[in-house]
């Protein structure tokens, strides 16, 4: 996840250089999940971004981060903070998502018993991400992994 910034990053809005943050997410590390979202929240606050937008970014990040921990084998998150928006790219190694339309439905979940015991598995994570982002894209390859890209405008 430390390779150079994807050069295809929205060229039409490319006039402002983003602040780039990189995080590593570890499989099954339930206890540290949420640290990346917490850190981004702190940085956005310091940048004076409006609280409603910060809440949206936090929700998107946290739900995505948890999914990488409980459904995949971990991966990396890149956050790009621009003057008018935040772009989050969550890339995991993992099983991929067989049926994205189904996964997007509220209440649909394959969460493990362990994850459910911790309070996950309502099947609301992806719908939350969709609802709180201004755009969301899921690229998934079965047996390889999933990349979720979300943008929140301020």
């Amino acid at each position: 996840m430390n390779d150079a910034l994807d050069s295809g990053a929205s060229p039409e809005n490319g006039s402002d250089e983003p602040l780039v943050l990189d995080y590593t997410v570890v499989k099954d590390d339930f206890t540290r999940a949420g640290e990346a979202s917490g850190d981004v929240k702190k940085k956005l606050r310091m940048a004076g971004i409006n609280p409603a937008a910060i809440r949206k970014v936090s929700i998107c990040m946290y739900e995505g981060e948890i999914n990488m921990v409980i459904h995949a084998d971990g991966g990396g998150i890149r956050v790009e903070i621009y003057g008018d928006r935040v772009r989050m790219i969550l890339k995991d190694k993992g099983p991929g998502i067989k049926d994205v339309d189904k996964a997007m439905q509220a209440g649909w979940s394959t969460a493990s018993e362990e994850a459910r015991n911790l309070g996950f598995g309502a099947g609301m994570g992806l719908p939350n991400m969709k609802k709180n982002s201004d755009s969301m894209d899921i690229q998934t390859v079965i047996g390889t992994g999933t990349t979720v890209t979300m943008v929140v405008n301020y």
Binding site: S37, Y62, L118, G121, A122, N128
Partner: protein
């Protein structure tokens, strides 16, 4: 009612009171499913739940609830406790079931 007022009522055990005890409690919210709480817990609310782990604290912090109330004798382990202190999330506890715990807070809010 502030978080301090709720603490001072003596109805709840104090698990962590290092944080913003002057915060106003605006509402009461009950849910154990974290992504539902993430979506719907109102900022400033007292969140009543039986989930007492690190992820509860992450959701509490991201939603900006005024305090977490652990119902049904739910207990936090040492690691979660130190995270609550570090993140300054007020955590209270009770033996009562969720509904009764929430009702207790609600009764005080209404006054």
């Amino acid at each position: 009612m502030t978080v301090k007022d709720l603490i001072d009522s003596g109805e709840f055990k104090i698990i962590n009171d290092e944080g913003d005890t002057a915060a106003e409690i605006t509402d009461v919210f009950c849910c154990d499913l974290l992504s539902v709480a993430m979506a719907h817990a109102p900022g400033g609310s007292a969140w009543v739940t039986v989930m007492a782990n690190m992820n509860t604290l992450a959701v509490a912090s991201l939603t900006g609830v005024s305090c977490v109330i652990l119902a049904e004798k739910a207990e936090m382990d040492e690691m979660a406790l130190s995270k609550a202190r570090q993140q300054e999330i007020i955590v209270l506890a009770t033996d009562k079931p969720i509904f009764k715990a929430a009702l207790t807070v609600y009764g005080k809010l209404a006054k």
